[in-house]
């Protein structure tokens, strides 16, 4: 059903989000799951590692909102 053409900015947002999800779900679990050190922000490694990616994702999501998820001015969610 989807005929929506993605803009370059929209594609970039989705790629950055996918990188974030992949980093939170895969490397963290497969490669660092038994790491306790180094502590990050006073937390054991896995906690601090996820918090760093959380901050990254929040920045991307805020950017996505500000740019109407990559749509030009006046599009992408303005009230109709």
């Amino acid at each position: 059903m989807s005929k929506h053409k993605m803009t370059g900015k929209t594609k970039l947002i989705w790629i950055l989000l996918l990188i974030g999800f992949a980093a939170m779900e895969f490397p963290g679990v497969f490669f660092f799951h038994d790491k306790v050190d180094p502590y990050i922000f006073g937390f054991p490694f896995i906690y601090g590692y996820i918090l760093c990616w959380w901050a990254y994702m929040c920045i991307i999501l805020f950017y996505a909102y500000r740019t109407r998820w990559g749509h030009p001015e006046g599009e992408g969610g303005d009230d109709k």
């Binding site: 059903m1 799951h33 306790v36 937390f43 054991p44 959380w54 909102y65 998820w69 109709k80």
Partner: protein
């Protein structure tokens, strides 16, 4: 019962009375129509939507179950940070389209969506039944969580059965009085309490042990396995990341919150707001981990939060945070009861039992339905044991099955009724098998991935059967095509 216990119950009682007053005011504003009672006339503003979605999404599962998981299994529940963001993304991608189609076609319940999009009453009924069946255990854990809080706050004088009964009477009164408007108003109140209660409570308890680093150093000595994920935990980590947000998002209470939204713009903002709010889990993480040092022998892990707070935090602070916990459970429970009542009233009572019932009488059927569903959940809370998170995960894996035909309807022209029905049935049957006979879960899925496996099988069956069965009618596809064109033309 000591003076402190009485004081704690008075504080919790007051927290229940304030939203009750809101419910009464909301009740006066309501119009006796099903659209107003169930989807607030599709006029819910941005602030109310965010808080009602967040408060409905954060339940006893999050507020109490998370503490128990951090206490028992270390960082496994920390995948919640990612699943909160994923939930927000689902709200943006799927929610906005469902909202648009709901507004265009006047959908009130989830069944309306499937019945129209697939042109099949049978599929709509199957989805409605799955939602009702699998929302009940999720409702049960809200009741259980709330009852634990009251039981601990009273020093055990009010037993679990009575505490659960008290908890539900208040919820029934709210929902009975004002429909979705009452639920949304009370959720704003609850949402604010929840966010600050979770973070502040965790920081306070961790500071008793000398701060976070010092607390974790003590765990390194006492229970080092709690500082890292266990072997094979990756499956549960991944399964929870997918099943929890998808299952919750597909619950009838969240469908109602998609239909009720006034402006499309909010859907763009929700991923950021929900992602940001995920930081509140830091509070549960700190409480659960601190409890490993402070109280290593708690038998019922779901009581970690109230036990630790009443023992180690100042009385007023403990009661305030416990009231927040009651709020978490109550806000989800009232939303669930309300939406389940909508499903029964509109999808079954109006459709099959009494199609000529007036709008006013239908609202009354909805209210009586609220009473009956609450009673069922109450009985389940008394007789179905288990950790809150474990019961919740089964319930969520059930409603998660609905995402397959939903995404199929929105994004894949080849989706067919036969594919959708066979997919969800295979998914639900496998989930039941994996739940009641855990030994049947194969390979790595045996480590907490039964729900995920059932969802994957649902997807495979859906795609295969849709490819070999009769497509949806041309008339229906033309009609839907026009609506999707309209959606993209308006550039929502």
């Amino acid at each position: 019962m000591t003076g402190s216990n009485i004081g704690a119950l008075v504080i919790i009682g007051l927290f229940m009375l304030i939203p009750l007053a809101m419910g009464a005011i909301a009740g006066r504003k309501s119009i006796p129509t099903t659209e107003d009672f169930f989807v607030q006339g599709r006029g819910m503003g941005s602030v109310a939507v965010f808080f009602t979605v967040a408060a409905t999404w954060w339940s006893a599962f999050a507020f109490m179950g998370s503490n128990a998981y951090f206490y028992l299994k270390g960082p496994l529940y920390w995948t919640a940070i990612a699943w909160n963001i994923f939930f927000g993304i689902l709200y943006f991608v799927v929610g906005k389209r469902v909202w648009f189609l709901g507004k265009t076609n006047n959908y009130i319940t989830p069944k309306d969506f499937f019945k129209h999009q697939y042109g099949s009453e049978a599929l709509g009924n199957i989805i409605a039944i799955i939602m009702l069946l699998f929302t009940l255990p999720y409702l049960q854990i809200q009741l259980t969580g709330g009852a634990y809080l009251i039981e601990v706050a009273s020093g055990g004088i009010i037993n679990f059965k009575l505490a659960a009964l008290m908890f539900y009477l208040v919820i029934i009164i709210y929902v009975w009085s004002g429909g979705l408007r009452a639920v949304a108003w009370t959720d704003i109140f609850y949402g604010i309490l929840l966010f600050f209660g979770m973070i502040y409570g965790g920081m306070y308890i961790a500071n008793l042990l000398g701060g976070t680093t010092e607390m974790f150093e003590q765990i390194r000595v006492l229970k080092p396995e709690n500082l890292a994920l266990q072997e094979n935990a990756w499956m549960a980590w991944l399964a929870m990341f997918i099943i929890t947000p998808v299952g919750s998002f597909m619950g009838p209470q969240l469908w109602t919150r998609m239909y009720a939204v006034k402006s499309a713009r909010l859907f763009n903002l929700m991923p950021f707001l929900l992602g940001l709010a995920a930081i509140a889990y830091i509070g549960s993480m700190l409480v659960g981990n601190s409890a490993v040092v402070l109280e290593p022998g708690i038998e019922q892990a779901d009581k970690v939060l109230p036990v630790i707070l009443y023992k180690y935090a100042p009385f007023i602070l403990a009661s305030f945070i416990i009231a927040c916990g009651a709020a978490a459970a109550m806000s989800t429970a009232n939303s669930q009861i309300h939406s389940m009542s909508a499903v029964y009233t509109v999808d079954f009572h109006k459709a099959y039992i009494n199609p000529n019932l007036s709008e006013r009488k239908l609202v009354w059927v909805g209210r009586w339905c609220i009473l009956v569903l609450s009673a069922i959940a109450y009985v389940m809370a008394l007789y179905v044991p288990g950790l809150l998170v474990n019961i919740g995960l089964v319930a969520l894996a059930g409603t998660a099955q609905v995402i397959v035909p939903t995404v199929g309807a929105l994004f894949w022209k080849k989706s067919t009724v036969a594919g959708a029905i066979s997919g969800v049935l295979v998914g639900v049957i496998l989930l039941c098998l994996f739940t009641f006979v855990p030994g049947t879960v194969p390979g790595p899925f045996a480590f907490g991935g039964g729900g995920l496996l059932s969802l994957l099988c649902n997807i495979v069956v859906f795609i295969v059967i849709s490819n070999v069965t009769k497509p949806r009618s041309k008339e229906l596809m033309d009609e839907l095509e026009k609506q999707y064109d309209d959606f993209y033309a308006k550039k929502y």
